[in-house]
Amino acid sequence: MSKEIMNSELSKTKMTEKELRDISYRWSWHRSLAWNYEKMMSLGYLSTLVPFLERNYKDDEEGRMQAYHTHSVFFNSCPNLSNLILGIDVAIEDKLGKEGLPTVAAIKNSLMGPFAGIGDALVVTTNTIFGSIAVSMALEGSYLGLGIWIVWNFTLMFYIRPLLLKIGYKQGVELVTTLKDKLRNLTNSASMLGLMVVGGMIASIIGVRFGSVDLFGSVIDLQAKVFDPIMPKMGAAMITALCYYLLGKKGMTVVRLLWIVMLLTLILSFFGILIKP
């Protein structure tokens, strides 16, 4: 069956451009409305396809029931790259009807994991880059950085996600192999840029100021006499390194780390080791 799907006949599309865009928009809205710990985005995926299924299996009640069943299973992936999966799925069901459903199930199952990995990494990296620019400008009273970020969000919503769905529809499963290397290269490059921005943000938005300690009668100004001579923003680098280390510990979560950092800072402030930045 997979040979048949690889067949270039798939490029003779039945779906119009607008119908494909609509599926992408539907996915953006429905994907996580009923997100839950049991089946995650399952209901969102099915809801996205409801109008397509109703149309595609108009004269095939058995196929329609099978399709509803196929799309009621667990699904969770990256909100953006899922558009590729949706595109491939719609192309197969469009062409083969209910005969294609076992293939669709297998494709959803095998692609959602890798796409979640690559996609989430790209999403969190790009959001950190745009977010860092927006935050640093906002803290200086400028709306510009936020504006740039919002333009990016609209590009994702109205251009990139529909485009991914169309690519998935036109190129089918074949695409996954050719796309894999490109996506990996893209993720690596984005990571470099992301790390550079994170380095800059550590130095710019984390504020740590050390106070003075009384050591056997002589008062030592920690900030001016100990840390500043080593390097600027020493405190910010130290606290990030500590958090990074703690996050590597088993059972550590963001919320636990938040409480640890708060408690530690309060204790150090109590003894005057940390002061108001």
């Binding site: 919002i150 690596n188 470099m192 921005v197 309060l266």
Partner: protein, 264 residues
């Protein structure tokens, strides 16, 4: 610090913003999202209290806590957007931001994280409802079940904001007056240290061990040379594009060699 007076209409609008914010995060993510749209939603909250600049500054502060943190696979994270809306509503003026954020914003965000978990559990019921109707092939009821999920999201985010805004003004004044100096100093210190958490989460997520030198370069540009973040990003972009091109060429080369053809 004097407590602010919020009208009931303002409280309702701010509470609604908390709902809109989580909906945008779970759907279109156009810039008001509870994780990636905190600045935008705070500016709107600022407009509600008649001071958008206050919202911009509060939003910048709380967005800095959320940077680098995603909600992947349903990870529960502190409720920073709800806290930002509350602080914008309660701070009254720009000079009170740090104190309000430290006294009420950060604790509320951390304490209400369990509400998010609760909301995601509530959605299991709607999933079961949807499953039942999917078995019958009932399109309309499947869509209704999915849409009902909005309840869990919005109620879990709007409740803390609503209650916080109701009792907030009195609570803040009381806390502010009774708080020992070391504690308020400590909380201010905390509010400037918190971005370190998001940054380190991201460092765990990215291939830091492999590409640590880019981290160092970014740090140096800002710590020693005070470069703006936009400048750091653009230098980073140049390096990233360069590496992408090199890697793509290498992939092409391998393909050509493996294919046995040199006709390129």
């Amino acid at each position: 610090m004097d407590g602010v007076n919020l009208s009931i209409l303002q409280i309702i609008l701010l509470t609604a913003l908390a709902g809109i914010s989580i909906i945008d995060q779970m759907t279109f993510t156009l810039g008001l999202g509870a994780v990636n749209g905190i600045i935008g939603v705070s500016i709107l909250a600022g407009l509600v209290v008649g001071n958008p600049m206050l919202g911009l500054l509060v939003g910048g502060l709380f967005q800095s806590y959320a940077l680098g943190i995603g909600m992947f696979g349903g990870t529960a994270i502190p409720n920073w957007a709800a806290a930002a809306i509350m602080v914008t509503g309660l701070a009254g003026s720009v000079s009170n931001i740090d104190a309000t954020a430290a006294i009420i914003g950060v604790p509320v965000a951390a304490l209400t994280v369990q509400l998010d978990v609760l909301g995601r559990f509530a959605n299991v019921a709607f999933q079961h409802r949807g499953d039942k109707y999917a078995k019958e092939g009932n399109a309309k009821q499947v869509l209704i079940s999915n849409t009902l999920g909005l309840l869990g999201w919005t109620i879990s985010r709007m409740t803390p904001v609503f209650l916080g805004l109701l009792v907030g003004p009195a609570l803040i004044t009381m806390l502010y007056e009774s708080m020992p100096i070391w504690l308020s100093t400590g909380l201010s210190a905390v509010s400037k240290i918190l971005p370190a958490i998001g940054m380190s989460v991201l460092l765990r997520y990215l291939p830091t061990k492999e590409y640590w030198h880019y981290l160092v370069a970014g740090f140096v540009l800002v710590a020693w040379f005070n470069a703006p973040i936009l400048a750091v990003s653009l230098i980073g972009l140049a390096l990233a594009v360069n590496s992408f091109k090199t890697a793509s060429n290498q992939t092409k080369l391998t393909e050509t060699v493996e294919g046995g053809g040199f006709d390129e």
